[in-house]
Point group: D2
Chain length 296, copies 4
């Protein structure tokens, strides 16, 4: 089956389900029945179906790109954040206390705050610049309403940041880090944009313009962290069902990587109990079953 | 480079290091400088170096085979054990209490006890029969001294079993389960035996005699669980450095799977702080770096 | 008001409420509306009302007497068990793991198992002998049906015992300790019996025959542990409402001590969510309010 | 023995020991060998020895007075904070997460932040006014250097406050609460001042001017919370050794109450591993042993 046919057929078969994230009003308003799927092949061609050109809030998907940007500057971020699965809900403080202010991995909120702090003032702008270039879409931007709303509901993340600061694991002022953090979470992109922007991970570190963001080993390692930690408390389940490195967000988006073949982005706002898109997971499950392209 | 050359060169380059497991006398006596490496290709050919024909105690490596045997009987074991990384040391009781007697995955001790209980009386003999057939070595057997010693030091595992029994997640008598469990942990095999016995996971479920133990999806799923949960509290680190599904044991052995290509077994008794073979990890790291065969 | 009047008036005013413990059939059959109250003054006189002469299962109340017996042999039990409130439900394993097999206090199940192990083989018989002498009732005995039933539901306690054994904090065989433990929990006594048997704690260590079981400081210390740890996860609430050293059991009994004045025993099988007798707590609350005899 | 003799003899016998709190410079500079002891009887007479008139930083002792002030306004503070011992180090976040933002008791930092928030803007001034009146010393005041230093090291407490805010258990702005909180901790008083200011708890709620701050039951309840939760993770130990309601601070001070008899304040800056004054505990232990005035 051709990729376009495959993508269209999956879009036709899945049924959006689950509850839309409602902790901020801007997300709660989204139509739960939206569904988009895009696959970008190594040469940059995009095959899409459904609402694959509709921008949505990428939320925690940004954490994967932030990690890549931090690693492109060197390996020292690993002295400040681990790379083991957390085994607990994504914003738990318990493990942070046990492990002296070092978050378990860059994809739990505490870890993403450390990565943001590591990139420092201007982190969100660096990310925006990168995503515009890779997606080829200069209009990729922060939704200021979402960003403001996230900031108004940031007590939990402020608690995490101050807690890490108490262990000496925060370089910038907590307010600065929170502002950068909520901006990157509030970026809007479509599945097509995201699939293109994720290609460097399928291309072992090489960007769409042929330059290298990460060494081969660096790109593989981002994929490894995505596979083991990319979907909150459901990483095992994701590896079991989908079998690809992936990163999800509470906006209902998921990106996934087939190393050496393609990058995938899927979006459907209805979430399961663990915060992952119901139809998104289903679509990726079907994709790897039909193509045989799981890494296992 | 040919596989034999590669295997020999790795064996020449690694330096056994770390402390031998000493919680039972039979393991504490092993020479910490031993090192063996074997790679079995899909057609059953084995390339080995170092002490690759010396039998050693497979310990927790048995958990991967037990899971495969349980899944070959059907999927219902998943109602009794999860498949998420544990995020805590491998014998922690905390998570078991939080999650009402359902262990996080089949590779922590509690989960392996449930799988053993699921296979029931005779579980260890079923495993022995399977391993003899797959390795082609009819002499594969339990070391009775190790088994006896494990039984004499089984208070922690008995605690886990009774604790799960208190939640109704134990079908057989705790004594029966413990006996089966210590026998399977005390099986002795060489790297060559193990690499051959692991081939069904590289062959998407097909045994060495061409019959099928697991469906394609079933074999992929065992690999997924190995990648996310196979190396105690260091699964993220293993995925990051090695990038293959793997399962380690405190005897110093590790098996790893390159889907569609080969199975690897490595052994060196010196362990790191998380209970994984130091030289074993190093050898696998070199192997995927030199071959480029990580799944990422 | 005279004590007899007071006791009768409290018995008339309280309303038994709550759910009877149902983890074993023998306890689940008890009439939830039963209520008895007895106050024994220092000279041994008993003032009772309601079902104060009906025997009931003392359950965890036995832990207070066991601690006193262990301390009468010397202070070394404190090297094996702490005396801090647990801050968690009474049979939690978490704290035991964090604190290396040393239970937080002698009144959580793990701690009582250590005290039982400390007294060793024959512990339950020692306790029976003591309780018969102090209560003046030679018929005080174990209910064998309850003991058998407790033994049949002892997986959780076996888990605790094996867990402590794995840390080297169990001297006797786990089976022996469990047998002694369930026997002591299954002793039946009436409020009148219990009030008399508790007098040594009101008399700063002096038994009913004038001999001394504990030094003054020893008796005060048992009272201190009762006040801070005697009512499961509700010790703070008990201190706040009642303000006396007390020890409760899931059979619905509670003993309390007014140092230098009297001992109180109350019984009503209906329990609140934390395992303490609803009407029992209410009666003790009224008692200290009416007499002003809280220690605060 | 007369009280003055007793107090002098205890001061002569104890040996200051332990390490001075060093998390802020202003506390780290204190002479570890200082020792003061004061006993105030119900009529307001003070018996003192050693450095009993030297002001020191009362730190967490303020939490007992803040609770009393909050309760003098009504009982509703109990809907926002529990009254059970915490069973964990005093600033742990774990329990707060498990119990949905409701701190276990008013004497752990999280609980004291809630009480401060409950009293609202001006809380520290209310406390100052109260302490000046009760101590009879109009010069009782905040040490601004200590307050500033506390504020500069408040990341952990900010984390706690934001965390509770995320559960809706913070009414005022976190910055406001923190400012009030550090001011109250930074009040300086002598043992003589503190003993007099604590008398209302020995007098069942009646202030030094004869007016009532708390009902009899209210005063008894503050005493109950002090006994079960007043000395961090050592409340059981304190009840066992001293047997009085007490509240300690990392400045090395401890207050204790003998209901119906007297109030005691002791100070020596050297702390044990749990944050309580070594010589202070020793002095109180001797005091209750010599007088027989433990509540048990």
């Amino acid at each position: 089956m051709e990729l376009q046919q495959l993508v269209s057929s999956i879009a036709a078969d899945v049924t959006p389900d689950g509850a839309v994230a409602d902790y901020i009003p801007a997300l709660a308003r989204i139509d739960p029945h939206a569904f988009g799927l895009a696959v970008a092949t190594l040469d940059g061609e995009v095959f899409g179906a459904g609402d694959f050109e509709t921008p949505f809030s990428i939320q925690s998907i940004s954490k994967a790109f932030m990690l890549a940007l931090a690693l492109s500057q060197g390996d020292d971020v690993w002295s400040r954040v681990g790379r083991e699965p957390s085994g607990s809900p994504f914003n738990s403080l318990v493990q942070l206390e046990t492990e002296q202010g070092i978050p378990r991995n860059p994809f739990i909120n505490a870890g993403a705050l450390v990565v943001t702090d590591h990139l420092g003032y201007g982190a969100a702008d660096k990310l925006l610049k990168f995503l515009r270039r890779e997606s080829g879409n200069p209009d990729v931007d922060v939704d200021p309403e979402v960003a403001k709303s996230e900031l108004d509901h940031s007590d939990r993340n402020r608690a995490l940041a101050h807690f890490m600061a108490s262990y000496g694991n925060m370089r910038n002022n907590v307010d600065v880090v929170l502002h950068e953090y909520v901006r990157q979470c509030s970026i809007e992109m479509s599945c097509a944009d995201l699939a293109r922007a994720t290609l460097f991970l399928a291309r072992h570190g090489v960007r769409n313009d042929g330059t290298r963001l990460l060494a081969v080993s660096g790109a593989k390692r981002v994929n490894a962290v995505m596979l083991t930690c990319g979907t909150y408390d459901a990483a095992g389940q994701f590896a079991y069902r989908v079998g690809l490195p992936g990163k999800s967000g509470v906006g209902g988006g998921i990106i996934a990587v087939v190393p050496g073949k393609c990058a995938i982005a899927v979006w459907s706002p209805g979430l399961d109990a663990r915060g992952n898109s119901v139809a998104g997971l289903d679509a990726l499950d079907r994709f790897t079953t039909l193509t045989g392209w799981s890494v296992f």
